[in-house]
């Protein structure tokens, strides 16, 4: 390590300290950087879509109020299901071929999603109702293609980094992904919607994402899949057995630590479902209470902005706290942030400068996003870490991939509930009815958030009540050495 790097590592300035570690990435070759570009454009495409997805389905493709969040929920469900199913495929068929299959499906699915509705109505003379089936087909194909990306990119990062640079490689990947999410909102979605207001702008955003996927695909053609930064890993990879998803379930379902983990996962479902509301329900809530020209992208960029800031400033400090405690704090903060949207907007009139309902809604939304993101920052990394910690050393990967099981069941249910709540309590035009005093608390968006608040609060409460069950046999709770912890996390991530 050079003298300058050493000085930077010891620096008290968290910004300098954080970025100094990236110096080690110099030893990673061009393939590592190509992978980051691939994931950046793929991420940009994903994040731009997810911000406008529900609105696009509703306003452009003619999905009903209840249907749009349902299909967004189904998309996320298909996505996690296919990740689960194709997780090991790139070790089997090779990186480049997996990229080829994944991107081909992703681009095809995206094209069908973006153009399917118009194609069905204009060229096939279908009614809008029937052309929705084309769009649904696009969603299914797209989710299958997307599912290849995450395992494939993780494999690439692992393959193209040396052991020394690997933890930093994954940190950089996570940072770069969040920068993509940040840009997706403020630099892409908002300007496009400003240039093309209304449903056309939403379609433009979707098609922009398709172009990003094409760029990412072009980058994949330059990746050298036979390059291994650690040559010994080539042998290990070629010997890796292909595990069947159901075989995995069969192997671990009778194990006590896994059963305990399942209980834990079910208990945290409430708050984790709220995480998905950000793109299932909130876009409709924002535009219907404040206006169609609401800066959707800006609000959605707050979350990655806080995550990036947190990565640099807060995460290094958090290593001194216990995992379960941090999870409880994170869950509680995220869950309680919904109070801000559950209270009547008139409550905000006590603050100077807030005198109309739309002003109150804006402040409520802004504060909720900021506080929620802070809670997420505490919860999410610790949650992944917890799942990895409870697993027996030789089964970390299995436990990590099966951790998504309860969410599989919860996602479509969440889609149905979310869709119905929106159609009854946050319907298009509700702003006019709020202005004229026709909306009582019981049929207002605030009541919708109260329902979600109750659901979300159950999680931290349940974990607090059963805390002993989850911490009693974890000697790992002792604070580990920072470097050791980083190495361990990188290994877990690689295994997962």
């Amino acid at each position: 390590m050079s003298e300058t790097t050493e000085k930077a590592t010891e620096s008290r300035n968290p910004l300098v300290r954080y970025f100094s570690e990236f110096g080690v990435l110099k030893e990673c070759g061009v393939n590592f950087w190509l992978t980051n570009f691939i994931q950046f454009f793929d991420g940009l495409s994903y994040f731009t879509l997810i911000i406008v997805f529900a609105l696009f389905l509703k306003d452009y493709c003619g999905f009903r109020d209840a249907d749009a969040p349902f299909w967004v929920g189904m998309y996320t469900l298909f996505l996690s299901l296919f990740v689960f199913a194709v997780g090991t495929i790139c070790d089997i068929i090779g990186l480049k071929r997996t990229y080829l299959v994944g991107f081909s499906m992703l681009i095809l699915g995206r094209l069908i999603l973006g153009l399917g509705s118009d194609f069905g109505m204009s060229l096939l003379d279908l009614s809008q109702d029937h052309s929705r089936y084309i769009v649904i087909g696009g969603i299914a194909i797209m989710s299958f293609g997307s599912a290849f990306m995450s395992p494939c990119i993780s494999t690439s990062i692992r393959r193209f980094t040396t052991l020394r640079a690997r933890p930093t490689g994954f940190n950089f990947y996570y940072l770069f992904m969040n920068i993509g999410a940040l840009l997706a909102g403020v630099a892409i979605v908002d300007p496009i919607r400003e240039w093309f207001p209304g449903p056309d702008g939403l379609q433009m955003v979707v098609n922009f994402g398709t172009c990003c996927e094409v760029i990412a695909f072009i980058f994949t053609r330059f990746v050298n899949e036979n390059f291994y930064a650690v040559p010994e890993e080539k042998i290990a990879t070629s010997k890796a057995s292909s595990r069947r998803p159901l075989q995995l379930i069969g192997e671990v379902i009778r194990e006590r630590p896994f059963q305990k983990l399942l209980i834990f996962l079910v208990l945290t479902l409430g708050v984790r479902l709220v995480f998905t509301l950000q793109f299932m329900i909130m876009p409709q809530y924002y535009t219907r209470t404040i206006g169609d020209d609401f800066q959707l992208g800006f609000m959605n960029s707050l979350n990655p902005f806080i995550i990036i800031t947190g990565l640099i400033v807060i995460i290094p400090v958090l290593k001194y706290f216990s995992t379960v405690k941090l999870m409880i704090w994170g869950m509680s903060i995220s869950a309680l942030s919904l109070i801000l949207m559950a209270i009547p907007p008139e409550c905000y009139f006590i603050f100077p400068g807030i005198d109309t309902v739309s002003q109150a809604y804006f402040v409520a939304i802004f504060l909720q996003i900021v506080i929620f993101a802070f809670g997420e920052l505490l919860f999410s990394p610790r949650f992944t870490e917890y799942v990895a910690r409870v697993a027996p050393k030789d089964k970390v990967a299995s436990y990590m991939s099966l951790a998504g099981l309860p969410m599989f069941i919860a996602k479509p249910i969440n889609g149905v509930v979310g869709g119905l709540l929106v159609s009854y309590m946050c319907y298009d035009g509700i702003a006019a009815k709020i202005d004229t005093g026709h909306v009582s608390y019981w049929n207002s968006p605030e009541f919708m958030w109260t329902i979600y608040l109750v659901l979300a609060v159950i999680s931290p409460l349940a974990i607090i009540l059963t805390k002993n069950m989850f911490v009693s046999d974890h000697p790992e709770e002792d604070v580990p050495d920072e470097n050791e912890e980083r190495k361990e996390l990188a290994t877990r991530e690689a295994q997962a």
Binding site: Y60, I409, A432, H438
Partner: protein
């Protein structure tokens, strides 16, 4: 790739992997299907959903919107009273046509012109009942006034809607337009005979509503968070207040 690698790949047993994937997909498909069945029991669907969606999509090309025209034509032929069908909030396609929700007046003005195309198409359908009210007593004119669509307001009043109709809370279209700072619409409504002196039971008039809301926007601009969000509507409200006589006058 050497021979060993190739033989390793040939030894992969795809059958069980594909079988597992299909089982998982079948289970998830069933779960999704069951969820959608549950949703259908609670969801409100109306035959005009697609028509409304096409209106809101505003895909007018060369003076026509073929999918919309086809949907309207088919709907009228298939369902009696199609054009007057109400959704779960009591709104008819006519009311949806004259509803937009933009803070930017320039954008609203653009919408006003496009929506006129659809409004004319609906008004020409035989049997359309223009005076329908939704669950809260809003007529299409209330929606147009709240949205700030002066050309649509003009067309609706000329088609026979009452310019001074009150909804269930006592708001007239003029009050709604004034409350939202829709200056062009206020002007149009006054030209069409809207009475500025009308008051709600609590004494609110169009002028007082414009004043209180305009004041709120003005006051907010002096606070720091207006840097994050401000529609800059001061000018619109000032214009509305100029158009409306105050109680003293």
């Amino acid at each position: 790739m050497n021979a060993a690698d190739k033989s390793e790949k040939r030894n992969i047993h795809w059958g069980p992997i594909i079988q597992d994937m299909l089982i998982l997909m079948a289970v998830m498909g069933m779960l999704g299907y069951l969820s959608s069945l549950v949703m259908e029991a609670f969801e409100t669907k109306t035959v005009t959903d697609s028509l409304v969606s096409l209106i809101r999509k505003e895909d007018v090309k060369n003076g026509q919107d073929l999918p919309f025209a086809r949907e309207l034509d088919n709907g009228v032929k298939k369902h009696g009273g199609f054009i007057n069908t109400r959704d779960n909030t009591g709104r008819t396609p006519l009311m949806w046509t004259v509803y937009v929700n933009y803070n930017d007046p320039a954008e609203t003005r653009k919408k006003d012109q496009t929506r006129l195309f659809y409004l004319d198409a609906l008004l020409s359908v035989p049997g359309i009942r223009i005076n329908e009210r939704d669950h809260d007593g809003f007529t299409a004119l209330h929606w147009a006034a709240w949205s700030g669509l002066p050309a649509c307001v003009d067309r609706l009043v000329k088609a026979g809607l009452d310019v001074n109709a009150t909804e269930n809370s006592g708001y007239t279209p003029l009050m709604l337009a004034a409350m939202r700072g829709n200056a062009d619409t206020v002007q149009k409504l006054l030209q069409l005979g809207a009475e500025a002196s009308r008051a709600r039971a609590n004494g609110d008039t169009a002028a007082s509503l414009a004043e209180s809301h305009g004041e709120a926007y003005h006051k907010r601009n002096s606070f720091v968070y207006s840097l994050l969000y401000s529609e800059h509507r001061d000018g619109d409200y000032r214009q509305v207040r100029k158009l409306l006589p105050t109680a003293k006058e």
